[in-house]
Symmetry: C2
Subunit: 92 residues, 2 copies
């Protein structure tokens, strides 16, 4: 299932490590703090566990939203000044 | 329908104005750059139009994801150090 992962992490170093984890899990960056990609239930649990370990006791808020294809088709985007990352088409 | 709105806006002043618009539309802040709340199709178009006007030619990327109740029930959150905003229960 496609999942949107968004985070608020104040420390640069930790934030950067979490971004790397997201990319390692094959998620595509759609904004600086938002990633989108296919993850089944196990992968969702696994990435959150991995992020939890990496974050340790540092302040962080991470939210993962599984989004069905139908809803994903309703996504709307406003991009001004060429700002933002390109959103890949969902892979089957 | 519940909608998640996330943004990347580099200029503080513009970002703050867009946050105000989200709050004006009754969305709840769930992270610094993520808001969640009920909006029908018209309201979704309306808020994006309002944000577009406010952003003008300033760099911005705003993405709006309608998410059905079923998917919203699958949301997962990791919060460390009391970091993050409280997520309200969806209103019917």
């Amino acid at each position: 299932m496609q999942c949107l992962l968004v985070y608020d992490i104040p420390e640069d170093k930790i934030r950067s490590k979490v971004a790397d984890i997201c990319l390692d899990y094959g998620l595509a960056r759609i904004q600086y703090s938002a990633f989108l990609g296919e993850m089944n239930h196990n992968r969702q649990e696994e990435i959150l566990q991995k992020i939890r370990r990496r974050v340790g006791k540092h302040a962080a808020n991470v939210q993962l939203f599984p989004i069905c294809e139908k809803d994903l088709g309703l996504r709307k985007e406003l991009s001004v000044g060429g700002y933002g990352f390109s959103v890949p088409s969902p892979q089957p």
